[in-house]
Amino acid sequence: MRAVVEELAADRYAGRRIGTAGGRAAVTWLADLLRAAGALVRLEEFPVAGTVREVYAVPTLMNWSAGGTGNPVFRRDFCEHLASADLPNPRTGRGALGILVPRDPDAAGWMPKMIAGPAPAALPVLAVRTDLHEQLRTTSHGSAVTAAVPVRTVDVTGVNVHGEFRPPRGGLSLLLTAYFDGVGDDPHGLRFPAACDNAAGVAAIIEAARVLHHALPDDIGLSVALLDGEEAGAAGSARHAPTVEPGTVVINLDGAAHLGEAAAVEAGGPAGPLLAALDLAGRQTGVPLRAQAMPSDNRRYAAAGLPTVGIGMGMPGYQTPAETHDRVQDAALTFAARLLTATAVNLAHGSNAGRADPHGWADRDLSTHRRLA
């Protein structure tokens, strides 16, 4: 799993934004990985129009006022605002040039990046670190600034990667999902590795599928969907969910980097038996669980009427350059894969809250993951 995270966070994937060469390279690599694991792979292309906001050159902001801060740094002191109009070339003005809105950086001083948000407005907009914004606002003579906001809306093509390990045979059919896309690098090469959000989730579900492929009874169907475009409004799952066979049980993993106090779980659709299996798996594997909103691809599958749980296990450095592979804890990956594996096995064997683990699946999974982690 560690190797998968490091690979997806590598420079050649350039942050894996939907519709980019880096994103497509990730598709190719993941497809090969699934084939090597024994899956029948299918790629599903889909258009995403009018959603993705692209910063196509480095925005600039200079403050010329007396006592001003001079040359604020993009992504540290200010960043794009998704509602901005495109202002490709620097323009100097006082008051009417555009809008500066205050924004707090994260704990490490980064301003997180997003690629889908409010509809663009008529004026250029930049988000400015709150204290700097206050400085600009209270400058006694008013602030003259020079700014460029090169941001545009792009139409792109996304690609979901589907891997069928076992075809449905009329019995239980399991679908493990995780998105692989990120928000992409900044135009000056600042890297957004997206190791936690969500290379870690991808690694864990692939590992779980590899184990389950060899461990589940023959009549159980098993597939994975590695989804594109989650950062663009969960576009990949919106495309896929309506096509999934009714009754398929869906488990989505959104982050597997840092377990913290407990894994967050949101359920949708007729997921009672799935929740019971997950609860039992949590006790078998020692993973604490708590009900918590998980607004991710799982909601697309739940909305399609499928029994679904979304599980989240932490994303340190969320959508910043600090989301590097070393932030992903091996233990969190292992716990995530074990939890998914045990849940699937419990479902396959008809779990209930009072049942122990008569087949020793959790221990078997643990030993397997110790070898593979």
Partner: protein
């Protein structure tokens, strides 16, 4: 637990069915979830309301998500 979970501490604390109607993450993101479990149930999302999510074409209200991130609370898919 940091990452050193051990056997007896796992599983849900409380009723697993609460996952059908989960609270929003701490400080994040807008309206609390008030979803319903059964298929076809209307689910409120943590990044704004279900109506905002639908309007944004995603699983979150895009504006609410942007505001949550902007305010440093971080969130959501």
């Amino acid at each position: 637990m940091s990452t050193q979970a051990t056997g007896p501490v796992g599983g849900f604390t409380g009723d697993p069915a609460e996952a059908f109607n989960p609270p929003a993450a701490g400080g994040c993101c807008g309206s609390p979830a008030t979803g319903t479990g059964p298929a076809g149930g209307q689910t409120e999302v943590c990044c704004g309301t279900a109506a905002e999510a639908q309007e944004s074409g995603g699983c979150c209200g895009a504006t609410a998500k942007a505001e949550a991130v902007a305010s440093g609370t971080g969130c959501c898919g």
